[in-house]
Symmetry: C2
Subunit: 560 residues, 2 copies
């Protein structure tokens, strides 16, 4: 793509877009805005942007003076959603080094690979995760030391890691003034590795410019302001918690770091939401559904009518979105993105003004199942996955979603052989979807998960969500199983309440609302659980492998 | 300032921030969103983003094919707030040329200077402004032709301009497809010349990057979304209508171009606001005050409770802000900026959350008199005007506001001798102000207008606003007049209702609420009108000149 230069401007184009600007702005203008965090003993504590900033400057001094960290170095962080993790979000990139987001849910082998591939020099690790660090330590090739983060003194901490530094004890010794350098905007702010099921994790190195523009765009799109309050639910090692921490910083919003929590114990999160008037959060249906169940048990329903909760990872069931709206007033916003996209590229927040007044209540809820409208600055291209040619934006034609924009990755870090993920300056998402005349994006499936039956496509995601609409179905996954005659045929695995089987006709009744008879799964199996990846998505590769001979063995449905 | 480079990132840092992205986004996602405009015969007409975009592509083809305009060329626009002006906002910069904003209120001599200084190749001119173009035409050195914009056919238009093209007739002949090039983000999008009272106008050439980032920041700060409706009141040749047109484009908001209007006939603007549910507008107290007077006459008060009106140019009187809030629910937001700053750098919208609940009703209104909080990305430095040293941000120490940021100008275009307006990478605003611990900016005065009396400073702006608090005072200006003993002493000129004189004790009574006895004007003169500059500000230079010998002639107040 040729870039045209015209008359030079007089603007200060050399002002760099970097994250130090964001935190400085927050501290200058909202010094006393509160930041809450839950410590390891479950107490909710409070400090301010000013307090956090003072500690960031101490950390910067510690990194530079004690550890000798230099611009360009990579520094790993292995932590939950904590205030110290927040401090590192600005301290590490603020001195010109790059924060490696260490996913504590991937295998030891992969985590070790990621750390070595990034050539990390040091690793910050929460005390509760020392065992994870200890497990990878023997295979690390570039790490020169570890910094343990804990409320306990060093003397009470047991670990085999060496050399080991103690965060609190070290920063106590450092000056609370640090003169931040100006970081070139193309420098990597952080590195996040993909957690796909195929091959080794691949590195996405986000530039400061990338983060800065993503932050502005997300703040604009979701209308975030200084009166908002963010509950940091999405792991901070997942594409920097979807950028929401930076959004809150930019706007001077209140923040709450819940520390360690589990999807099964969401009650404390809901209690925090109610007590602190949380208005912004991100999460997946896997976290919002148990929250809703808990809210149903509350005698007095909370007023969360100012809340906008971003729901990603998988399509949020309409019943869940309606439940939140009706019981609490909270808006669940279907959002779309990936590690490669920082992540936000589309969201389904306010209904498009040109559709307003034209849809029935049911149509409005149905619309909210879509991924929504692209965020300004992101160029969505819908392509034939084979040829790369653009296909029609008519809401019907399915193509691969390809993306270009300031916060989309243009390559994988030091990963020869991954060039096929990019074409004509666009990143290929691997998602099959449609775009309609009003700009609404709808993801049908992963291209590799689309079920190709007799020359037609069946969306596994749509079928899963339809099955989950049955009141007794807890989870459902649909995969394409090799079939001699039809190429592939759908198989559904279903987890039900109390593990009881649901009659096939009953499930077919639900499916008939959206699917033709030929599209229905040949078999529906009832299982106790469904295999998932480290980020909580269905591990379809593993499921297909397990059942790959199912349809060719018994020739079920050959009569279709 | 040294820029530090760290580890390279994998982000698409080569994606250019330019305005073509903004309009493309709007058209793709909000094709049918309405744009209203008032034609020359006062009819309100309606088209859509898609319609406008089609015409922009035709204009781009016309510029390139018929006129031979090349990237780097400058193209002047002499027009009111019209839909054609909007089309040129994207067509001219979209092909890589630069839009010269021609201020139709400056002198013929200055306008001619600006056109020649920018080396404009062509000038687009509204039919109603042909006489302005004809007046400068003989002295233009680089202009090769004019394009008249009118609803009438060419055959009915009389002009001496030559060669002359007809906008509608020309674009009718062109293709409605244009393949926009990618414009380098540092290229000048538009040029706006200052209209200061000192010397020749100076050129500020805004880069695409500048405009793009300003647009995002303003949209974020004021919480603009696709459901908003902008009434374009600020002239589109004044720092691109304060950037609000681009903000509306980026968010897919509705827009209304009122065409030509005068401050004295604001009733039609208010009627439009009510009919079309306007939620965003920018203007000065000179336009909002007559609007409020008109609203007072309406039997049924309109509900404008979703409206945020940006008020700039001079401090909005509290009575005006309260009047709008109480009668209509509309929020008047004091905003701060200049031609050199695109313009928005600060705004007083939502009260800082740390102050919430801590101020009385009166204190809240008083707070709204301040210029507000800096917009993210803009670095405010408060300096001693003599030495450039930073002074305290304590809300009391007065210093010169100096600014650095992506949408601040770093120089004046081809203007040797203007280097003193910049220091250490910051633009010197010439405004004297304070910044408090919560980040709130308060402008006291222009540094040159501050009255220096016996070693102390008196703010002329505060005194003017206090005088205007008297119910019979329509306008008041306060200037410093040379004085042998005290260096300078204040003089007030007052315009009253029905030109009746107000007893001195009565005005002193008002002034005593904010000022000490020694600060009071030595003389208060009643006048029929106050001299103003082309942008409607008091022409203090001229006033001082007229009265420069007043205090040394008659030695009034030598007893102080």
């Amino acid at each position: 793509m040729k870039i045209v230069k015209g008359c030079p401007s007089t603007s200060m184009n050399d002002v760099q877009l970097n994250t130090t600007t964001l935190i400085k702005h927050a501290v200058r203008n909202f010094p006393d805005r509160e930041i809450l965090y839950r410590s390891s003993d479950n107490q909710v504590q409070c400090y301010t942007y000013k307090d956090a900033y003072t500690r960031m400057m101490k950390v910067a001094n510690f990194l530079e003076n004690k550890l000798g960290v230099k611009p360009g170095d990579k520094i790993g962080v292995l932590d939950w959603n904590t205030q110290r993790h927040f401090e590192l979000y600005y301290a590490i990139p603020g001195i010109g080094s790059t924060l490696l987001q260490m996913n504590l849910r991937i295998s030891t082998d992969d985590l070790s690979y990621v750390t070595n591939h990034s050539e990390a020099q040091y690793v910050f690790v929460d005390e509760s995760l020392l065992s994870v660090a200890e497990a990878i330590a023997p295979s690390l090739k570039t790490v020169k030391g570890f910094i343990v983060m804990s409320d306990k003194p060093m003397s009470e901490i047991k670990t085999t890691l060496s050399p080991i530094y103690h965060y609190e004890e070290e920063i106590q010794k450092e000056s609370d003034f640090y003169d931040w350098p100006i970081i070139d905007e193309t420098t990597a702010y952080s590195a996040c590795y993909t957690s796909g099921t195929t091959g080794r994790p691949k590195g996405v190195y986000y530039s400061h410019r990338n983060i800065y523009l993503h932050t502005m765009a997300a703040a604009t799109y979701f209308g975030v302001n200084s009166h908002d309050c963010l509950l940091v639910i999405v792991p901070m090692f997942h594409a920097q918690s979807w950028g929401l921490v930076q959004v809150a910083t930019m706007m001077g919003a209140k923040m709450i770091f819940p520390g360690r929590y589990a999807a099964e114990e969401t009650a404390p999160l809901v209690d925090l939401m109610i007590e602190e008037n949380v208005t912004i959060a991100g999460g997946s249906p896997a976290i919002f559904l148990p929250m809703l169940h808990y809210i149903r048990t509350l005698e007095k329903k909370p007023d969360l009518s100012k809340a906008r909760f971003l729901s990603g990872a998988s399509e949020p069931p309409v019943s869940m979105m309606r439940g939140f709206k009706e019981l609490t007033g909270a808006e669940i916003i279907h959002a779309y993105g990936a590690t490669e996209t920082t992540p936000l590229v589309a969201g389904n927040y306010l209904i498009s003004p040109t559709l307003q007044g034209k849809l029935t209540e049911e149509e409005k809820w149905d619309l909210k199942r879509k991924q929504g409208l692209p965020i300004t600055g992101i160029d969505f291209k819908l392509c034939d996955p084979e040829t790369g040619e653009e296909v029609a934006r008519d809401g019907k034609t399915v193509g691969e979603i390809c993306l270009r924009g300031p916060w989309i990755t243009g390559s994988y870090y030091n990963s020869p052989g991954t060039e096929s993920s990019f074409r004509d300056g666009y990143w290929r998402s691997g998602d099959a979807g449609t775009i309609d005349e009003n700009g609404y994006v709808k993801i049908m499936d992963r291209i590799k998960d689309v079920i190709k039956s007799g020359g037609e496509w069946i969306s596994s995601i749509d079928m899963e969500n339809t099955l989950m609409g049955h009141p007794d179905v807890l989870e459902a996954v649909v995969v394409g199983i090799p079939h001699e005659k039809w190429q592939e045929r759908p198989l559904a695995l279903v987890v039900t309440k109390d593990n009881k089987e649901i009659p096939r006709e009953e499930l077919d009744g639900v499916l008939f609302e959206r699917f033709a008879k030929w599209q229905l799964p040949d078999q529906i199996l009832f299982v106790e659980e469904i295999a998932k990846t480290s980020v909580g998505k269905f591990n379809k590769k593993e499921i297909v492998k397990k059942y790959e001979n199912l349809y060719n063995e018994d020739e079920v449905s050959s009569e279709i």
